[in-house]
Amino acid sequence: MTSAREARAFDDDDDPRRRRAAALAIALEDARDPIARRDFLARMGAALALAGLGACTRAPRQEIVPYVVQPPEVTPGVPRHYATASTLDGYAIGLVVESHEGRPTKIEGNPEHPASLGAAGAFEQASVLSLYDPGRARAVTERGSVVAWSRVEEALTRGAWTSTEGKGLHLLLQPTSSPTLAALLDEIRERLPRAAISFYSPTAPENAWEGARFAFGRVLEPRFALERADVVVSLEADFLTTGPARLRLARSFADRRAALDAMIRLYVVEAICSVTGAMADHRLRVRSGEILAVAAELASAVGLPGLPGGVPPTLRAAAAPHRAWIAATARDLAAHRGRSAVIVGNSQPPEVHALAHAINAALGNLGTTVTLAPSPVVDAGGPAHDTARLAGELADGQVDTLVVCGTNVAYASPADQSLGELLARARQSAYLGLHADETAAKCTFVIPEAHALESWGDTRAFDGTASIVQPLIDPLFGGRTELELLSLFTTRRDARAYDRVRARVHADLTRGGAGADLEQRWRRALKRGIVDDTTIAPVDARVDWAALAKRLARTTPTPPPALELVIRPDPRVHDGRFAANAWLLELPHPITKLTWANAATVSVQAAAQHGLETGDEIELRASGATITAAVIVVPGQADGSIGLTLGWGRTRGAELAHGRGANAFALAAGVAVAPLSVDIRKTGARHDLAITQRQRDLAGRDEDILRHATLEEHRRSRPPPRDEGRRHLTLYTKEPREDVHQWGMAIDLTRCTGCGACVIACQAENNVPTVGPDAVYLGREMHWLRVDTYLVGDPEDPEIAPQPMLCQHCETAPCEYVCPVNATVHSADGLNEMVYNRCVGTRFCSNNCPYKVRRFNWFDFHRGEDATRELAHNPDVTVRQRGVMEKCTFCVQRLREHGIRERQGRAAAPPRTACQQTCPSAAIVFGDLRDASSDVARLRSDERAYAVLGELGTEPRVRYLARLKNPNPELG
């Protein structure tokens, strides 16, 4: 170390005096260093010699702290499950939360809830970590100083607006579908008719609402019944991972994907590779700004007989290069009238949404695969969802009291609106938020918000189904809910959220006729997680062709910029609201596999043109602002598009994410705005990107690793090569035992979308630590379950094929033979067991594992964890320490629990692994292989089933089913 520095110092300077001075400085520095190298070695030797003595201390006595009065429903050691719901952009996902003695630890989907169907996505799975985030706002503050709640109460309810019917009072909320909140807002409007209420989320579906207004004359939301669809066209809609029905659509799409006799076909038109795009049979990569032309051309090719004058040719001129592709797609759609659907992404302008409605109407899809219904979101499509009025009033100094609830508007709004700057113009402002974030810094009062798992409330799903949000735990940091804060502006200031929700739901329940069993029905609604008879019935909507024609005639297509910037919500942090969540920060992006940051994505051709490669830093200039971002080259992206996701580059309230990634909001960009013209310039700097998978091609080993084929190829090659035919000679005889369960798993790659929900579910269930970007960069991430995503075929426009990879529980496991201390062994029921207390960390097993699924604890990742954070741990799983190998256990804690119950004659349903339970597309199936009628046994004997690297003779208990696609023969 010293010599290297010396050499550098001496080399750098010609003047001998200065050289000597530099050498002296280094010597002094070494002298000041309290631990010199020799000392260090001596101490290390002594420490080593004394380390053994550590075993001579006795573990300290633990305490047992029983209840004072034990709730009758609680048995310590037996978890309980409660139904609740989480809300994103106003739409609910029903959840079932596992609670250990009042401590929520694990989120699952609610099988009865229409938006969940038992699945939960990465956001929902990770929400339990957000609950225990020690970085949450903990105290009510006024300009940074802690104050009493009464001070806020007093200040907020006073102001000029009290005498002017509310003029000067402005409430800014997140889009909401809560019936109780809606009723509360009505109360406020009645009492203070001139108070302004607005809703803001950068990812609200405003274009979709506006598009419906173009087509139908009113705001309606399309619902898709993919289970009845044969052909689906997505115009930049990532419907499998975004949107209010994402989990439901993923399930119905996968069900029709795996039905080989009636396999759904998917066309996707998009600029930036998405999860949905990766599932497409035909993916047309065009710039985002050209999709209007594609939609118009498609409409014209399908034929809109109702539209006076047809689709204006000017609109579709830009789609000329893709005419053949569009014509083939249109013919396929036309051949499936009433059994097809066109879905449009939120990022597309309202005209595209309107055209899609028109196409669906012309194809007779309305009422079959596509139904239309009013939005469950309060004031959907109304002026309250436009923040321009708020910005104007703030700028004019007309806002006396501003209350911001839950939306981090100072960060998550386009820079050109400068809402963040304007917040300070209000005489006083209050921010109710989970974190003291960018918005908190601009507001007078900061009020800690109660997490959804700490709150009473209600919310509605995409189809209107209402769910009660019930708390699993008292607010950890004394947080308050939106309902409680906004009650200040009603006449019932002290009404508890519980009383409001209860009254509201009681009203719902009695609508169909009052009953004496009201209490019972309330309890039933709480228990099931959904309130009966609250769905919003679809309406019989007709396209207003004349108005649409007028609208389209008025639309002049703007020529797309040479290089466009396309902004997407981030699959991990969304719009930045999850940026304090380490699980989500470390979740690899489904396409780029990047963790802990976002990056500007460019196509192979664009990268070559600008001399860029992955890791280069570029400067992005758009609408007068400049940011820098790292580059990732993504094959398959449109050549004229730069992709960037929202939510990164946070500066306050999300310590883990501060300074990571680039802030797209700084470019005055949002999801719902037209793509910006952008200039890029290479800065010459490099970024060490924490990418989890750098080998993206299969190196010609498709048959061994990820089998993929078209449906036609699969039918022709029936039966495909089977592993059983080439069983290898082995010295080891392992006869599966018949007297116990034989656990196995099957993963259907035709269903898997690669969304990553399983990764977070596994992390939550198994106390898997996060390691941070530097460790990920070194390849030391700890995920027991990862999703490998391979790029197959054309290097510039490949097929993107995800493959969940976890411990394969080989029957002849290579890891077991090399462990010198028998820390990894086989169980009677076929698990490859990992015994942490035996492991001495030689890592031989990991070296010998052909699947590279074993993870080593290089550090004590859990040591020093905040006591609050520790509450998130699953008490049924060991928290591993440094020097220990770990890997997927098939959720052995669930299996053993099931076994114990089963042998006592009180077993419930068959056990499921965490990844299986949460998988939105039901791609993961787990079960007992002895039972020939079980799903897993059936799938294992499917002709698509194969073992990854089967030629090694490891006889894995995990089998994959080949990924099949259903391309249109006409497009080849």
């Binding site: 029983p66 062994v825 256990t889 053993r896």
Partner: protein, 223 residues
């Protein structure tokens, strides 16, 4: 040449060899002996905590409650039949009786304080297993393993102490051959039960009738 003659002087006395061999010998003994000593030490009752009652916040006497009053194990530790944890009773369970009797006993001051201030009593754990061991009470008591088998004669303990070593070797003795430690289900909480037939005969019968498995998979206890 002059200096070379000086160097021929014998630097080490004759006994230096003995010191040398002694040093080598003790180093070798230490290498073998030190781990052996540690291993042996870990098995001593001192290290396992066996037989040593911790001071509890309330001087609860099992002799009195179990023998004199005839209160069964499950009255207070009912979780044992349906949960991994047998559980320690809530303060309200104590107060259930002690609201009627011994209402002013100074020994029960902490119990009353807990009940009226809603502050739980912090008991000290007697039978502790490492955090990587997942023991399930219900799996044992529903399969004919008596309380006394692992906890000893709690009914004779003034202050509860750990009666067995609770080492893995001790667990495995039974897990490998459960027959030697099984009893009829209705005798599980009986502290004084003795088999009316030879234990190996009865054990085999019970093992068959209760469906007791010999669980020696690592993940049976380590997860």
């Amino acid at each position: 040449m002059h200096g070379a003659a000086d160097l021929r002087v014998n630097l080490f006395p004759a006994y230096a060899n003995q010191i040398y061999w002694l040093a080598i010998g003790s180093a070798a003994a230490a290498i073998v002996g030190a781990p052996a000593a540690l291993i042996a030490w870990a098995r001593t009752p001192y290290a396992t905590g066996q037989g040593e009652p911790p001071e509890q916040p309330v001087k609860f006497d099992h002799r009195h409650h179990v023998r004199d009053e005839g209160i069964g194990c499950e009255y207070c530790h009912g979780g044992a039949t349906r949960s991994a944890r047998a559980g320690v009773p809530a303060t309200s369970v104590c107060v259930g009786c002690h609201a009627q009797i011994w209402t002013t006993s100074p020994e029960l001051g902490r119990v009353r304080e807990s009940y009226f201030t809603n502050a739980p009593i912090r008991w000290r754990r007697v039978n502790a297993l490492p955090d990587f061991v997942f023991f399930d009470h219900s799996a044992h008591v529903n399969k004919g393993v008596g309380c006394v088998t692992c906890h000893g004669r709690v009914d004779l303990m003034g202050q509860v102490y750990q009666a067995r070593p609770l080492t893995m070797r001790w667990c495995l003795e039974c897990h490998r051959e459960p027959e030697g430690h099984l009893r009829p289900l209705d005798e599980v909480t009986n502290m004084e039960w003795t088999p009316d037939r030879p234990q190996d005969v009865l054990g085999r019968e019970l093992r068959a009738s209760l469906g007791v498995r010999s669980i020696v998979d690592c993940s049976g206890c380590h997860r």
